[in-house]
Amino acid sequence: MQNKIEELLHEPLVVINVGLKGFAESLEQQEVEVVQIDWVPPAGGDPEMIDLLERLL
């Protein structure tokens, strides 16, 4: 089985794009399978909650 880096070179890309929508759109233009994530900071960016969630979720 080829490792994931080789897959990157030789297999069709399947991309999870987290953030800038344009990146996903340009991949779509190139007929790449991509899912766009309109990312938002976890816990609204509250560091105490982020730490807690790290352990609980």
């Binding site: 994931k4 070179l9 890309l13 953030g19 990146f23 991949l27 994530i37 900071p41």
Partner: protein
């Protein structure tokens, strides 16, 4: 043939819905007939026709669901009934997808993903990228401002798990012909390239394409990968990947000068590379590096392109880049239009690598040049907004992009700076770069054109002329179309080159007599 049924107490559905379920169940392979209905008296009579009767069905109430399956084997009957819930709720899958807001949701959506790309605030990158690595995904990180220790941890984890981390602060990669991030549309070919900088890779790949050759893969590694803190983890892994890639015949590395320790380590690895290697670290390699090691050294990106083409095209070596006679003539004519006051160069560059390479070329020509991103500390501008003598500004520097779009995406900041420079009567040359490709501004020239024309006019009113020297990085296949953008510049009287190095050399030529005076 086998028959089976299940009664679900008090599980009400309307008949139209159940027809859909019935339809889905009957399409399962091996299923001959199904009946999915509420246990009304009428429906129970229907079931008798199926050959179904008995206490359990008799006692079923109108709110109870009965599902009957006739199939080729008892196993199929059992499986269908056991997975009934799926058929009952599978309608949901056909509901349009909602907006996704987390990596986890993406992983559910694309379980076979092989790459996660991140462009999110740097402080969140470690956590999110680590989750992607733990899910066995390669990672491309456009985000900057990721602490070096976090970058190192991500890269070490990736290295242990045979995954690649491109970035942080990685603008460009081209993998199997697919451009990720800020990438130009280039031909597929035999030249592989690795580089920490997006614009460096864009310049290299575009020039290879424009010379009629092609790229196998271009790996962005992130602007800190070759620092001694990181030690080139990704560069070395990308090198391994290209070395074993059948399509790749020659490997180029295009980078600003690496950290001292990392450079030695890297050179040792390059020497043992089974493919020809072209190394361009923008400038002459340090004296303690053994350059006599089979590595083809290049001082500028253009040289690297030529070397790579020569190796892959098995061509005779051609002389390094230099200006033509016509260009020398053009330089003389241009100088002749300047007023007596005009003597300084102002470069406003969107590409960080271009700002570096231009400085390098000017310094090598003996021209002192100040910058917000200087090659030597003595040339640091006291304030990036105030040009001093010859000045080259990296307009993509953090100071300019904090909370504002990068000049590759939006020309507003550069436009304002062009106009500001035009009020300084000592300015003779304006050096610009235009970067095309995916995700860049759809009309980078158009955004600055008015300002360029206005700046030139202002200088002409003062009995001089502003020499606007520009380079375009891109290809005709790019969404912006190289020829269209070039035409706009030429019509505005801009002196245009298809490489930043050549534009910089031309600036040196323009400045020669001024220096000699």
């Amino acid at each position: 043939m086998a028959t089976g049924f299940i009664v679900r107490k008090n599980q009400y559905y309307d008949s139209v819905f159940l027809m859909g379920v019935n339809n889905r169940l009957s399409q399962i392979q091996g299923v001959q007939q199904t009946a999915v209905l509420m246990a009304s008296e009428k429906n129970k009579e229907l079931l008798v026709n199926f050959g179904l009767h008995g206490e359990e069905i008799e006692s079923a109430q109108p709110n109870d669901l009965i599902v009957t399956v006739i199939a080729e084997t008892p196993q199929i009957v059992e499986t269908v009934l056991a997975n009934l819930d799926q058929a009952l709720i599978s309608q949901e899958a056909s509901a349009p997808a909602s907006h996704l807001h987390s990596l986890e949701e993406g992983l559910v959506e694309k379980p076979f993903a092989n790459l996660a790309a991140f462009s999110i605030p740097g402080e969140y990158v470690y956590r999110e990228a680590m989750k992607a690595l733990e899910a066995n995904l390669n990672v491309f990180i456009f985000s900057s401002n990721v602490p070096l220790e976090e970058e190192l941890k991500l890269k070490q984890f990736a290295s242990e798990h045979k995954l690649l981390v491109m970035g942080p602060d990685c603008g460009t990669s081209i993998l199997g012909g697919v451009g990720i991030g800020f990438a130009n549309v280039v031909r597929n070919g035999t030249i592989g390239v690795i580089g920490p900088s997006g614009t460096g890779l864009q310049e290299f790949t575009s020039q290879v394409h424009n010379a009629g050759y092609g790229i196998s893969h271009a790996f962005g590694t992130g602007s800190h990968d070759l620092s001694d803190e990181i030690g080139g983890v990704t560069t070395l892994m990308a090198l391994d990947a290209l070395e074993t890639d059948e399509q790749t015949e020659v490997i180029a590395i295009v980078a600003k000068p690496p950290g001292q320790k990392t450079l030695h380590h890297l050179v040792a690895r390059l020497k043992n590379c089974t493919r020809p290697v072209v190394a361009c670290f923008l400038g002459t390699p340090p004296e303690d590096v053994n350059t006599n090691s089979g590595i083809l050294w290049a001082r500028m990106i253009d040289d690297a392109v030529l070397s790579a083409i020569q190796v892959s095209g098995k061509r005779e070596s051609t002389p390094g880049i230099q200006l033509t006679e016509t260009e020398h003539g053009l330089a003389r004519q241009t100088r002749a239009k300047w007023s007596s006051e005009q003597c300084y160069l102002r470069g406003l560059l969107a590409g960080g690598t271009f700002c570096h390479q231009s400085q390098q070329i000017l310094l090598e020509a003996g021209i002192e040049v100040y910058s917000n991103a200087p090659l030597k500390p003595q040339y640091k501008l006291t304030h990036p907004d105030h040009s001093y003598k010859h000045t080259l500004i990296d307009m993509g520097d953090d100071a300019y992009t904090l909370g504002k779009p990068h000049p590759m995406i939006d020309g507003t900041m550069r436009k304002q700076r062009i106009l500001a420079e035009s009020y300084d009567p000592s300015v003779a040359i304006l050096l610009l770069d235009f970067i095309l490709g995916y995700n860049a501004s759809m009309d980078p020239v158009g955004e600055l054109l008015d300002a360029i024309v206005e700046a030139k006019q202002r200088m002409q009113q003062h009995a001089g002329d502003l020499a606007v020297v520009a380079s375009i990085c891109g290809t005709q296949e790019d969404p912006q179309e190289l020829d269209l953008q070039a035409k706009l510049l030429q019509e505005a009287g801009v002196i245009l080159f298809h490489s930043n190095a050549k534009a910089s050399l031309f600036c040196c030529e323009l400045l020669k007599p001024a220096k000699e005076v």
